[in-house]
Amino acid sequence: MAEKVLMKGNEAVAEAAIRAGCRLYFAYPITPQSELIEYMARMMPKANGVFVQAESEIAAINMVYGAAGCGRRAMTSSSSPGIALKQEGISYLAGANLPAVIVNVQRGGPGLGDIQPAQGDYFQATRGGGNGDYYTIALAPSTVQEFADMAALAFDLADKYRNPVIILADGLLGQMMEPVEFQPAKTEAELKVLDNQHLDWCCCPNEDEPNHHHHEINSLEIDPVVLEQHVIKLGEKYDKITANEQRWEDYNINADNEILVVAFGTASRICKSAVDELNDAGHNVGLVRPITVWPYPYDAVYKAVGPKVKKVVVFELNLGQMVQDVKIAVNGKVPVEFMGKVGGILFSTDEVKAKIEECLKEAK
């Protein structure tokens, strides 16, 4: 394996994206993701790639649309308010079956909010934040290493399903440094394969008749009967993604768990520390960490509710968003409790521990 380097999440995901064959990056500066755009500004020219600082988030996502419509790996990144602006473009990408990667280094909201880490964009990322019936695959990293690894995964999934993929990180993962091992960069031959994988539908050089092509990259179907079929087909694609792409991590899940914790991303790290301390003290607490927040690993969460689990506790850095999915997953088997922190404030390990201890006591 490659040597470990100490890097900020924002820079690690950028480096990993370039290694994964991303040669087109368009974005607009915003805290706390600015190291990402700055890294791309430095490194894209060295990789013979394209870096454009767009005039707005809206322009950036539409540049991604144009590049993706040409069949090439394209990416944009931003933080919460900027991602909100990109929703128009994301809906159009989804409607036009275009692959693209969007990184959201979440911060506190709503509105301008603040610049500290938060998870308030869960609904937006998992429900399709723009207009119409669509889903984006949403990957939620919890370490800098995983943040970096998700760049390649996101592009592979985007290309496989011709669908936008969101990496749902947050300010903590963006700003924090941890050791990272990178996958080797794609070779010239591999890049060529990537560039040619979409030639049957994308905008690309043409020929005269009889091989002349007229590809239309488009989400407009003015005839309702045609649009109906288009959306039904999208639905079938989402069903396939749901069946194939659920990812999660089981942490100390066993038949004797008394309490089950569910958390994703940064919140899950803090929870893991609390779970470790409680288990060291003789309790038995398990944790499920959804890695894909869409498609949501409902079955995995349900199965993790072991025979002795009295309660499920959900921890999020928001007012309670994923907890709705956990309730769907648990399906009334046991009560589901929630603890959240908002405003870009993190809960401490002690606070998480106290909440779980309270649940343990009630369960006894």
Partner: protein, 249 residues
């Protein structure tokens, strides 16, 4: 028998869906003819807007992308950067380009993006039913300026060529008219020039077509051209604003 006029290869077999008397078809044809004549079709790709010409992606016979309202220059930026060996144009109306897409057009022009923009100005929103456009003339009545455009309240029409001409990067900017056969011949020359520069990778090229909207103006084809000549041309002067290729010659 001799063929003296034929359908350009660059247009598909579909019939245009534009209203009787509308000049979008003329603008499409001029662009298509020039692309054919310059032998650019196989390296060409375009962007259709939101507006009456939303279906332009069906009419041009090469790869096309359909943009969200106003975003065509951003798409074109992504396309040209993704496939630098190909040539790109956007086709946009006045609401699309000069209202909701103002930021995108100004910044694409300011970056000197290597693509062509064909801007059709008929002083009104056509597709949505005749609302006020950023280029609607003073006192002109539309469904959202039913008492006439009040410039004290909503400002004056935007002259896009003049606006873009304040920027340093654009290579070619010209306003032409589609209001008479003679004007159309001149327009064809400008379109050919813009696409030649496009082919030669000279920089950002911009053409504004002064056009009509018989349906929403409530006039017939002939009357609408007379009206445009009388009312629009004094405000939107037909002229070349910039031709950096000419200075080189």
């Amino acid at each position: 028998m001799q063929v003296i006029a034929t359908r350009p290869n660059t247009l598909t077999d579909l019939n245009f869906t534009y209203c009787p008397g509308c000049l979008h078809g003329v603008a499409h044809r001029l662009i298509a003819e020039a692309i054919d004549e310059l032998g650019m079709r196989n390296q060409m790709m375009g962007v259709a807007p939101v507006g009456c010409s939303v279906f332009a992606y069906k009419f041009f016979n090469f790869d096309m992308q359909e943009a969200a309202h106003g975003r065509a220059p951003a798409l074109a930026t992504g396309m040209k950067r993704a496939r630098p060996d190909m040539h790109v144009f956007t086709y946009q109306g006045d609401g699309d380009l000069a209202a909701i897409g103002t930021a995108e057009i100004v910044h694409a022009a300011n970056r000197g993006e290597h693509f062509s923009v064909f801007f059709v100005n008929n002083a009104i929103y056509g597709m949505t039913g005749g609302q006020m456009a950023p280029t609607t003339l003073p006192d002109m009545k539309t469904t959202t300026s039913p008492y006439g455009r009040d410039v004290d309240d909503i400002g004056y029409p935007i002259r896009v060529c003049e606006l873009l001409n304040t920027l340093q990067a654009p290579f070619f900017i010209e306003r032409v008219s589609l209001l008479s056969p003679a004007d159309i011949m001149k327009a064809k020359k400008a379109v050919t020039k813009a696409l030649t520069y496009n082919k030669e990778e000279r920089g950002f090229t911009f053409i504004e077509f002064i056009s009509t909207c018989p349906t929403n103006w409530g006039l017939d084809a002939i009357e609408s051209r007379d009206w445009a000549r009388e009312k629009m041309l004094p405000f939107f002067k037909i002229q070349n604003f910039r031709d950096n290729g000419k200075e080189e010659a």
